[in-house]
């Protein structure tokens, strides 16, 4: 039968199954292929903390959502065109995300009594008419996969493990995409440890593809043309990988050795894994006994003249705070990466949130001002962490780099920068003995000298006790303490001198400005693009610097009647803006462990545009 091809501008596909079913793997592969054929892509991995929760349970459902488009996109999509549900639990958890008349592909072999019960279905939804408003495609994936692998020398459970590639083969067919990229990936991925799995996975991938072609079940395939990108070389990149490359680049461009101290924690561990691979760049990664030791080695390395970096998530940052404060008073360069996840306490480790901003700003004893930079999207992690390193080195201060699970794990196409265009980073170590004082400052930046051990004639002592101005000797003098508190605050404030003018997207003045930071960028930009194109007086400012704020921010805010601040917390930036500028900024807050949907912002925007 001849299949019909339909052109569509964009599509959103959600792969869902048991954790361990391989939804993340095939989702990532579909993303890679879509990026390679030129689509713009945005992804949302959504998985449980348990490695393998009980099979078939609602708690164990792992999902990967991919939005690919022939136009520029900023989010993984509010709703899905296609849902691939490998079992009843995956269906139950994700069905609400499927558009009316959307395509629902299910592994019907998994819809037996036990799995239905585990998912809380009294009746089989494939038979009770409850899925009428969708295009349902029940496929016996378990059996078809086993048939395809009949001759493979694998035991049954190993064969069943391959069936995610059967599903991927189907989706590649549905969107007219080549299997080559996936086949190449399978060959590389399994080459060393599991070469016997290469052929079976390729076989079942092809089987899924051929199944769609051969059966009458599927009559239409869809085409999503490449998107328009500015000229350049591109790759697909996830936020954590982007952070890794930003750190490697900063070390490379500053000529400093990178020493990364860390303790495994979701969702920051990928940074440790990533950096550990690049030993040929001279990078030292130290997996320490705890979070405190992890920041401790980074501080020691900084004292010794290396680029000291530590990375963690909220709970780890709580443990590190005393040591970060030491680096603050010792005025040593240090970069602290906080890949935020949903809290409080252990919270929801595999879900996203932005609720650590005030912890980073205020969560240390005494007056302890630190610069804070936040990445807006996966590709922005590279530039932001690079800038964090530059500021840390130039101003001799710890810098907080904020990312969050949503952008850390999400991926999008990245135009690879030219190394020659990266900003200069000059460590400027002190070597001059004459006139050296440990706390004698640069008059412009107020940075103190970086005099590393091993330098003849600069022997000196630093520590966590209050310092005497200039000499750095221990001092309990009342006036000196106040002066030092003021100098440390002023040093951070002066960083604002190098923040570029605030860029306002959309309307430059008018009724509504949406002010955001971090991973809310995509949802905000989508809404503002749509509304501004429709002629509405709406603008968007997205802050990279959360401390200090850009010097012109107050003036920008005054140009708008309403300032709306969407955040995945209960109003952290909102509080800061209100207190800094005495403006009645409005909060739009969500703390569900999930990013904003575009429609959630749309309806809020209506309130301020129409009135």
């Amino acid at each position: 039968m001849r299949k019909q091809v339909e052109q569509i501008p964009a599509a959103t596909v959600l792969f869902a199954g048991d954790s361990g079913d391989g939804s993340q793997t095939i989702g990532t592969q579909m993303t890679e292929t879509s990026a390679m054929i030129g689509n713009d892509v945005a992804t949302l991995p959504d998985y449980p903390a348990e490695i393998k929760a009980p099979a078939g349970s609602l708690a164990g459902v792992s999902g990967f959502q991919l939005h690919f488009s022939s136009e520029t996109i900023h989010t993984p999509g509010d709703t899905c065109d296609v849902l691939v549900a490998m079992n009843p639990a995956a269906l139950r958890v994700n069905l609400s995300k499927l558009k009316d008349n959307g395509i629902l592909i299910v592994n019907s072999d998994n819809f037996a009594q036990k799995n239905l019960r585990l998912a809380g279905y009294a009746d089989n939804p494939l038979e009770d008419g409850s899925l009428e408003k969708y295009q349902v495609f029940p496929v016996e994936m378990t059996r078809l996969n086993r048939d395809a692998l009949e001759d493979a020398e694998l035991d049954l459970s190993d064969k069943d493990q391959c069936k995610n590639f059967f599903a991927l083969g189907m989706i590649l067919w549905l969107y007219n995409r080549p299997m080559d990229y996936t086949i190449r990936w399978i060959k590389t991925k399994f080459a060393f440890k599991y070469p016997h799995l290469i052929e079976p996975n390729i076989l079942t991938l092809r089987a899924g593809n051929i199944y769609c072609e051969a059966t009458d079940q599927f009559a239409t395939t869809y085409d999503v043309k490449p998107a328009k990108f500015s000229p350049g070389t591109y790759r697909n990149i996830a936020g954590n990988t982007s952070t890794v490359l930003g750190l490697v680049a900063a070390a490379h461009q500053s000529g400093l050795q990178l020493v990364y101290g860390s303790y495994p924690i979701t969702p920051a561990s990928d940074i440790l894994h990533g950096l550990a691979l690049y030993k040929n760049f001279g990078i030292v990664t130290m997996q320490m006994e705890d979070e405190i030791a992890a920041v401790g080695v980074a501080i020691g390395a900084a004292f010794s003249g290396s680029l000291g970096v530590t990375g963690s998530s909220g709970p780890g940052l709580a443990l590190k705070s005393e040591a970060i404060n030491l680096a603050m008073i010792a005025e040593l360069p240090l970069v602290v990466c906080n890949i935020q996840r949903a809290g409080p306490s252990t919270g929801m480790p595999t879900k996203t949130e932005q609720a650590d901003l005030l912890q980073m700003l205020y969560g240390r004893n005494g007056e302890s001002p630190l610069p804070i930079l936040a990445a807006a999207r996966p590709i922005d992690c590279f530039d932001t962490v690079y800038e964090a390193c530059r500021i840390a080195i130039k101003y001799r201060t710890p810098v907080i780099f904020l990312s969050e699970l949503y952008i850390a794990l999400g991926a999008e196409p990245w135009k690879i920068p030219d190394v020659a265009d990266l900003p200069r980073i000059e460590p400027e170590f002190q070597t001059e003995i004459d006139g050296f004082e440990p706390y004698l400052r640069d008059p412009d930046t107020l940075a103190r000298p970086w005099a590393k051990p091993g330098t003849l004639g600069l022997e000196h002592r630093i520590g966590g006790l209050e310092k005497s101005d200039i000499t750095g000797n221990v001092s309990y003098d009342p006036e000196n303490h106040e002066k030092m508190v003021e100098i440390r605050a002023e040093k951070v404030k002066r960083i604002a001198n190098e923040i570029p003018p605030t860029e306002v997207f959309g309307a430059q003045e008018g009724k509504l400005l949406i002010l955001g930071w971090g991973g809310t960028f995509g949802a905000i930009r989508t809404v503002v693009e749509n509304r501004f194109a429709a002629g509405e007086p709406i603008g968007h400012v997205h802050l990279r610097f959360l401390n200090p704020f850009p010097s012109d921010l107050g003036d920008v805010l005054k140009r708008f009647k309403t300032i709306l601040i969407p955040e995945l917390n209960t109003g952290h930036l909102q509080q800061l803006i209100r207190s800094e500028y005495l403006i009645d900024a409005i909060g739009l807050n969500k703390v569900q462990g999930q990013p904003f949907h575009v429609f959630e912002l749309e309806s809020e925007v209506d309130n301020y545009i129409q009135n």
Partner: protein
Amino acid sequence: MLKVVTLMKNRRSSGIPLGVPTLTQKDFTTDQDPRWCPGCGDYSILAQTRRIMPELGIPRENIVFISGIGCSSRFPYYMNTYGFHTIHGRAPTIASGVKMANPDLSVWVITGDGDALSIGGNHFIHLMRRNFDLNVLLFNNRIYGLTKGQYSPTSEQGKSTKSSPFGSLETPFNPISLALSAGATFVARSLDTDPPHLRSIIKYAYEHKGTSFIEIYQNCNIFNDGTFFPYTKKETKADNTVFLEHGEPLIFGLESDKGIQLNNFQPEVTTVSNGTENLIVHDQYAENTTLANFLARMSDMPDMPHPIGIFRSVQHPCYEDLMTDQIASAKQQRGEGDLDALLHSGDTWIVE
């Protein structure tokens, strides 16, 4: 496989290399006056450290003293070297970073019983097992001094202090046992009141390639005066301590008339006049820690003398050397890191 042979660097010998100007004790003294209580054992440890430093022949700019929090941890302010007075319990972590970032530095961790074994206990054991080439001087006074007299993790059980008016409930740590159990490659004990011994142990610690741990019995004359007097006072010291010498039998006593032998896996004091052939002979270079552990536990036994000296001294690869070798071999196999190639790694596509 790592080439262990290249990592097992030979025991280094101290001494002043030719051409290096001779430093004196005074060169290691800063303009900051020590603020310890008069009569504190810390003064002696500071004096011996300043005195031995010139003999080690290390360029002064390559020396770093790193401390945590507590009376002992003020030490770096008084040594005219690089110094970092850090936070409570965390000196081992910062020292590890300093050493890793620049393995040429001579790193000295100054800590106390509370700093190393209570708040920093976790870092202490991990420092011991990593075996960086650095030195740890633990000033053990069995009390919290800076916070004015609470029991510490080495205080004897039942000790009455401000925070334990009816007696402390906990079994004390034995720092030597703890270090040995954690895999320390050099473990020794010395006394604040025995300057020549303390200097020699510091020198041996420096010469040892790997983490060198020294427990120093130190008197706090304000909050815990006399806790070590049986082992440090002239009149009682000889009968209550046994000085460890490699290859020598364990003999002690004012008249050198007592020895230690093994009886059913337990140490037992015997008289030397009965013959020395059954006495335990010390072997500080034994890879197996059975003897070292056995000696360490003697100080928990009321009728046994406390061993003073080197319990263990063995050569294991150092963390920083293993890391340096890994980096060198990665560079050899994959070439010096090329940033542009790294940024372009994986699947890429070109938009014209």
